[in-house]
Symmetry: C2
Subunit: 404 residues, 2 copies
C-alpha cells in the first residue's frame, strides 16, 4: 500500500479560465462535447489548482502511532477538538475579520451538516410535548428539510418558510448568510420571543462576499468545504456563546460519531494556519492568499456568466450591491458560490431545459422556490465551468433563432 | 503551523508490562500513586507502542491539494468510500478469515457508531405506525440505548433486553460477538419472524478471541478503533448483503455527515493494507503482526489480572473456553478488550468501591446488568494497567485484613 497517497495526487489542471476539452478528469474520463456536466452539488474542486500551486506548504505527515486515542484534550469542553485546530480557527477568523471568537466556545464537527443537527439537538427543549419547529426563509438550502426530518425526531421538525411561520412559542430559525442558493445577505425573519437562531455562515468568506463586520451571533456554523475547498475532509466548526449549548452540541457529536476524525482536524489546522500566516505576512493581501485567488476566479466566472446571460432575455441573475470589504480594504462585489438563475419567457422547468443540454443543476423547487429557478455550482473545475458557459451560449443562440 | 504533526508524535512508552510511575502521559502529567486511572472508556492506547515500533511503515503523507471533493467514486454504491480502503478491508478480512466479504457491499462510516445508526435507519420500515423495537441481550453495550433514543426517532426505539422481548411483529436485534462488556460469543436470542439482525463484530479479531470461522451475516459492523487501535480516526465499516439496505445506510451517512473523512480513510487503508501484507508475508504469524502482538499483551494482562483476582474471593471474572483459532493455527483463549468483573461478598456497588481507590470503571447498571459488576478497559497504556493491578491487589489485601 506504500505510495498510495502519491498515486492519488490529482493531476495538475490550469488555474486560468482557459477551455481545454481534452483535459483528464479525476475519474479518468475526458470531458468532451458529449459529457454531462454535473453542477448540482457545490463540489469545490475549483480550489485544487490553488493548492497544487502551494506545493508542500500544506502537506501533512501523520505517523502510524499518532492520534490513536478518542480524546484530544479532556480538559476542553469539546474533548475531541484538536488544540491546533482550535488555535488555527481563532487565528483565521481574527485575520479575516468575519467572526468574533472571543466569548465563544469552539465545537468541531464532521462537516457543518453534523453541527447543524447538533445545534437542533442542543436547542430543542427536552420536556416539550411536541417537536420544536425549524424554519428558514425561502429559498433555503435544499438539505435543511431532509436533514431535519429524516429520523422523524420527536425533538424537532421542519416548519418550512420562515415568512409563513405563524405558530406561537419556541422555534429555531436558520439564517444562512450569504444565502445558499441565492447569495443574499440575510437577517432573522420571524423575530418573536422564544426564537433560537442558528447562523450558517459557510459562505461568509472574502472570495464570495464583502466582509463588512465580524459576525457575533449565539451559534455560528463554518466549514472548510467552502472556505478552503477541502470538502473531502468533512470538517466544520461552530462558534457557540452559551456554554450549556456548546456542551449539548458536543454531546450530540459524542453520541452520533464519538468525536471527529483527528487526521482531518490536523490537516484543517495546517491549512487554516497557513492561510492565517499568508494573510498576516503582508499589509495587503496578494494572490498567494486563497481568498484573493478565490475572488479572482469567482469574479472571472461571474463576469463570463453575466456576459452570456446578458446576450438575451432568456435567463436572469440576481444583482448584488457593492459593499466595503474590511478584509480586502476596498469596495467589492459578491461572487456567490452558486448562481441562482431564473428562466424567463414561457419556460417553466429550467432544470429540465438545462438537463436537455447535459447540464445538471438543482431545481428551485428543492429550495422551496419554483421550477423556473435553478441553482448552479460556480465552484467546479475550470473545464466544467467553461463547458457550461459554452452550452449556455448555444442554448440562447438556438432559442433566439427559433424565438422560443 | 509547520511541524505540528511531528510535535504531536507521542513519546515512546515501553511495550513491556514493567511498571513505571514516573512515565510521562500524553497530556503532559505524570502518573503517580495519587493519579486517577480512567478505565471507563475502551481507549485503545495500548497499541501505541506497537505502531511506534513499526516506524514509518504506516506514515501517510497528504498534500494540500488532495481529496478536495466530496466524492471518492461516483460509480460505487457508497460514493464516498475511498477505493483503497475498500481493497484493504477486503484483503484484511481475507487474510484474517473473520468475515466473508464476497456478495457483501462495503459501507464506510465515521466509526461503527454511525454505521449502527445507519443500520437502524435502513432497517426501520418507513410506513410503520410506531417505531420498530431495537433489542439486545443483557449485558449489552452501554451506548446502544442512548444512541438509539437520543433523538426520539419515530422510526426506531430502544426495546431493552432481547431475552425479555415479547412484542409481535418486526424488531431489530443487535448481536455483539464477542460481546461488550463480557467477552462472550453470541448468537441471536429472539429468533422470530420479522427479526432483522445487526452483528456488531468490533471485537472479532485474533488478539481478543479465537477466529473459529468467517462470519457471514446480513449486516456486520467493524471498526479500526479496536482492530488496529486507531480510535481517533473514527473509521468503521459495514459489510452488507442486501443492496437496498446498503444504499439506505449510505443515504443515512449522506444526510448525517455528507460522507466520511478522506484523510482517515486513506490512513486506515494504509494501516489495514500493511497489516494484510504482514499477515501474508510468512506462513505463520509473527510478533511483527499487530494481532500476534496484541494477543501477547492481552494474554499477559489477563494472566496478571487473574493472578491478582485469584488471591481472594473478593472479585470474580468470566471464564472462556479454549477454541481453535484458524488465524493462529492453534487452540487459543479469549482475552477480551474489557474485563467484566464482579464484586462478591456483601459489596453492592463495585464501581464505587474502585472509585474510592481512584480507579474509574463503568458500572454494570450501564449495561442493563447490576452494580455488583463493572466493565474495566484492558486496552489502556501499560502504566495505567499496571497501576490498576497494583491498586486491586492493595484493595484485596486491605479487605482481607479487615474481613470486609
Amino acid at each position: 500500500m506504500c505510495g498510495t497517497e502519491k498515486a492519488r495526487v490529482v493531476k495538475s489542471s490550469s488555474s486560468s479560465a482557459g477551455l481545454d476539452h481534452s483535459e483528464t478528469r479525476e475519474n479518468g474520463t475526458t470531458l468532451s462535447s458529449h459529457s454531462v456536466i454535473n453542477l448540482d452539488h457545490g463540489d469545490p474542486t475549483m480550489f485544487e489548482a490553488y493548492w497544487q500551486r502551494m506545493g508542500d506548504k500544506c502537506t501533512v505527515v501523520i505517523p502510524g502511532s499518532q492520534s490513536l486515542s478518542y480524546f484530544s484534550n479532556m480538559k476542553n469542553l469539546c474533548w475531541f477538538l484538536e488544540p491546533e485546530l482550535e488555535e488555527s480557527i481563532k487565528r483565521v477568523h481574527h485575520v479575516v475579520g468575519n467572526a468574533v471568537t472571543k466569548d465563544h466556545h469552539v465545537v468541531v464537527g464532521t462537516g457543518s451538516t453534523q453541527l447543524f443537527q447538533a445545534a437542533l439537538y442542543a436547542l430543542s427543549p427536552s420536556d416539550a410535548l411536541e417537536p420544536i419547529s425549524v424554519v428558514c426563509a425561502i429559498p433555503y438550502y435544499s438539505s435543511y428539510a431532509a436533514v431535519t426530518d429524516f429520523l422523524r425526531s420527536g425533538l424537532y421538525k421542519w416548519g418550512g418558510d420562515a415568512h409563513a411561520f405563524d405558530k406561537d412559542g419556541a422555534y429555531i430559525e436558520l439564517i444562512t448568510s450569504p444565502n445558499n442558493p441565492d447569495g443574499n445577505t440575510r437577517d432573522a425573519i420571524v423575530k418573536r420571543g422564544g426564537g433560537k437562531l442558528v447562523h450558517d455562515l459557510a459562505y461568509y468568506w472574502p472570495q464570495f462576499t464583502p466582509i463588512t463586520k465580524p459576525a457575533d451571533h449565539d451559534i455560528m456554523l463554518f466549514t472548510v468545504s467552502k472556505s478552503t475547498g477541502h470538502a473531502g475532509s468533512r470538517i466544520g466548526w461552530a462558534l457557540v456563546k452559551d456554554k450549556d449549548v456548546a456542551k449539548k452540541m458536543t454531546k450530540f457529536i459524542e453520541l452520533n460519531t464519538i468525536g471527529v476524525s483527528k487526521e482531518s482536524q490536523l490537516r484543517a489546522a495546517k491549512v487554516l494556519g497557513v492561510i492565517a500566516d499568508s494573510c498576516q505576512s503582508c499589509d495587503t493581501p496578494d494572490s498567494d492568499n486563497v481568498f484573493e485567488y478565490g475572488k479572482l476566479i469567482m469574479s472571472e466566472r461571474w463576469n463570463k456568466l453575466r456576459d452570456v446571460v446578458g446576450q438575451s432575455d432568456m435567463f436572469s441573475l440576481p444583482e448584488y450591491a457593492k459593499e466595503y470589504c474590511n478584509f480586502m480594504g476596498k469596495f467589492t462585489e459578491s461572487y456567490p458560490a452558486f448562481a441562482w438563475m431564473k428562466c424567463n419567457r414561457n419556460i417553466e422547468d429550467c432544470a429540465e431545459l438545462l438537463r436537455g443540454q447535459k447540464i445538471i443543476t438543482r431545481s428551485g423547487e428543492r429550495f422551496g422556490a419554483d421550477s423556473k429557478h435553478v441553482r448552479v455550482s460556480m465552484v467546479s473545475k475550470d473545464e466544467e465551468f467553461n463547458l457550461f458557459i459554452e452550452r449556455l451560449l448555444a442554448i440562447q443562440e438556438t432559442s433566439n433563432e427559433y424565438h422560443i
